[in-house]
Subunit: 471 residues, 2 copies
């Protein structure tokens, strides 16, 4: 019996899934290759047969894993598997690519299958003219819903919400609500809570479906619902919406217009992507990598990153000019030039640590004006401790290696100074930017490393010059 | 009529909420101060009255915004408002602090109110002896459930899942299920889907509550449920669970043991925190800030950061030794020492950009072995383009400022070389670490900046020496 036989025999479905996905739910490379080989060979039938058992989210992944130039051919081969759910799950850039390759009436067919929020996601990035054509091809109800959604700002609750929801009046019983749901085929089936509204269509309560199912038919909805509810204003930014869902552990929430009337519903599955994106974005922004999507057109990526690198070139020249001030000292004692980078580099690292913590705490609403002073004190103590430990370590190492007590003192003192600069800049820069309404993740790193570079060179070379190390 | 009067009069509840929360759902600093002033003045009644209208998530926030040394006093003042929901929403470190201050039987009272997953979160970090005492104080059913959960590895599905769920046999009708839910008071009310199981208690399908509500009583559950389901193995890591919820837009999912039997349920509201944490963690890890929680005890924070800084000290010394190789050249032409930092710094920034994108793409399963080669090619093209643009810019600038064509060529060529090194290292290092089973967010940055520092110095000073710039 070979070792492979020890693996218990899987059921049909599992075996089939096993041939496509690896342990981490990613499509296996050989599966992707097989599909693309079939497409390249013109064997659409074989490609279709391979892709058919996949979940829409996996078909979307397949397109992301396919090289740009082959995506249109793949779409052609498996066109009847390409439903709205696949597009809804697809990366924005990949979707835009594919949508560009489709006729407006084909896009309209896909959009009409979807909830408003997913349809909007597909249509919002199209050229205005194509957008108008798609809208014309939609039936009037869908068109009105999408046009209204498009009238709200990008990344707002109004774009995210779906208009398909269940709202019932307060005076109904549980039985009335169940009969209504059973009797109206046209209602959505995609809901987790029902909203209770007053005659002016303002929400007065929310009712989990499980509460309805566990309650006798004769009980009034008003007695089952929860009156304390979290409402989302239609113009709220999606980042705030995501934080609110997270904080109050919401599954769905009512969206209200400026008059307080119920106009839509947001469900957590649409928010999950946003939570993940917003949390991950800080990683990319702090590094100056923009949105950093690997499917972004390469020209856009180059421009985004280049802007940041040019800004950094400016700050690096500023730091170099600080070094330039001490050219005379360096010419006489070239060892300084080898060591000065350690001071600025260590400061930069310490500053980046603090910065990452502060940016994250700001993004999650953990750091507010109530605890800012405490946070500054906390980071100062950390910076002082780390600075003293590192400064001592480096000072001792310098004596051992170079046997120069003056150099050792200067080096250690510069490290300590720059650690304190790093700690304070790491807290104060992002907090100041946030208070000024600027996203602290975008430009904090430039300022912090500028300060640690300049102060690193200045403290080390300056102290060295004062101590007469240049001779 | 003053401008303030133009704001429409809010309802009682809204006005009350308005006095505590700012626009971003954060507790207002003056509200926090008022509560703490009342606690300090010993006026527990006033503190209680202020805190009472808050949502449990906001009470949890209040504790996080309270300085460590006042948390116990606040807990004492509002003790009857401190229910399980508040503890479930609280930051891990703050919760541990408070739990330490409570008697085991008080902890048991709180734990017994909660679903298994929340109770486990409270108990898992206690000292073994206290844990045993709390478990003894629980009633046998709760104790068994928690002990079983604790037997699964930390951060696994077994710890996250709740055992309270609804499972029904396949042969039931919709009416049977509704009658069962109405007739059994002891069942959980916290569910969004019901699971359908075979006689061996293996899941065969999942049924959204909305589908049940929209279907006549006589229809069989087997005809309403979805057979294609996403099952979570009990030992799956929480990061994988989160990615699976995200990918397939799940609201809840069945957890199965190694025998395939249904043992628990995970709901999306418990996963939302994990999605946000896991996505944000990369920001902190890339910066070498560990978990970077602002509530972490300061000693732990210092140690985490110091380890990273000491590692960086090692790589900085390596880079300094590269500079040391060229001491003679620098002594003769000290300007080089001012400029060499620009080359290494620009390379470091370009490397960090690539690194952030690659780490993020790995974390979201966007970068797999199917598209690794494409990704390397993509980053190489970006690095080459950025390197040529920056190299040219810097070369021209150098001629203008210093009028030295040799220096200009050397500088530009070094910038281009180091950009290519940065682009390749930024992709290859995290991918190699991931393939070796190491979290690429944790140690990639050390390696990448080590390479860009060393290669930056080596290419610039080496080329300068070859070109005879040292004289």
């Amino acid at each position: 019996m070979s070792e492979v036989d020890l693996i218990p025999e899987a059921e049909d479905d599992a075996a089939e899934q096993g041939s496509q996905l690896d342990r981490d739910d990613r499509l296996k490379p050989e599966f992707v290759r097989n599909v693309l080989d079939a497409v390249e060979a013109g064997d659409d039938e074989a490609a279709r047969a391979l892709v058919e058992p996949l979940h829409p989210a996996d078909i979307a992944d397949l397109f992301e894993l396919t090289p740009n130039e082959m995506r249109a051919a793949l779409a052609k081969a498996i066109t009847d598997l390409l439903d709205g759910d696949v597009f809804a799950e697809m990366n924005d850039y990949v979707r835009e690519d594919l949508i560009d390759a489709l006729e407006p009436h084909e896009v309209a067919d896909i959009a009409s299958e979807l909830d408003t929020d997913d349809a909007v996601a597909i249509i919002e990035d199209m050229e205005p003219e194509d957008q108008r054509e798609v809208l014309r091809a939609l039936d009037p109800d869908d068109r009105a819903a999408i046009e209204e959604a498009l009238s709200y700002p990008e990344e707002s609750a109004g774009r995210l919400m779906q208009r398909e929801l269940i709202a019932v009046p307060e005076h109904w019983t549980v039985g009335d609500a169940i009969d209504y749901l059973r009797g109206h085929e046209e209602l959505t089936t995609d809901f987790w809570e029902i909203f209770v509204v007053d005659p002016a269509h303002k929400p007065v309560g929310t009712c989990q479906l499980s509460w309805i199912l566990r309650t006798p038919r004769t009980v009034s909805i008003a007695d089952v619902m929860k009156r304390e509810q979290t409402l989302i204003p239609v113009d709220m930014d999606q980042e705030e919406v995501a934080l609110r869902f997270q904080k109050y552990a919401l599954i769905s929430a009512a969206v209200t217009d400026t008059g307080g009337r119920l106009v839509g519903m947001i469900t957590v599955d649409d928010i999950v992507h946003i939570i993940s994106e917003e949390a991950g974005e800080d990683t990319l922004r702090l590094a100056g990598a923009g949105d950093g999507d690997i499917n972004e057109p390469i020209g856009l990526t180059v421009r985004t990153r280049l802007v940041w690198l040019v800004v950094n070139l400016g700050t690096a020249m500023l730091a170099a000019s600080v070094v330039g001030m001490f050219e005379g000292t360096i010419a006489k004692f070239a060892l300084l030039s080898a060591l000065m980078g350690i001071v600025s580099g260590m400061g930069g690292n310490a500053g980046t640590q603090t910065l990452a913590v502060v940016v994250r705490a700001l993004a999650t609403n953990q750091l507010t004006s109530s605890n800012t002073v405490r946070m500054i004190g906390r980071e100062f103590r950390i910076a002082a401790t780390n600075g003293i430990v590192l400064g001592t370590l480096i000072g001792l190492g310098t004596i051992l290696i170079y046997g120069n007590p003056t150099l050792s003192l200067v080096f250690g003192a510069a490290i300590l100074t720059n650690n304190l600069v790093a700690g304070l800049a790491g807290v104060l820069v992002p907090i100041t930017l946030e208070r000024s309404g600027v996203d602290p993740a975008v430009s904090s790193a430039v300022f912090v490393t500028m300060m640690t570079d300049c102060m690193g060179f200045f403290s080390f070379l300056g102290l060295a010059t004062l101590a007469g190390l240049g001779g």
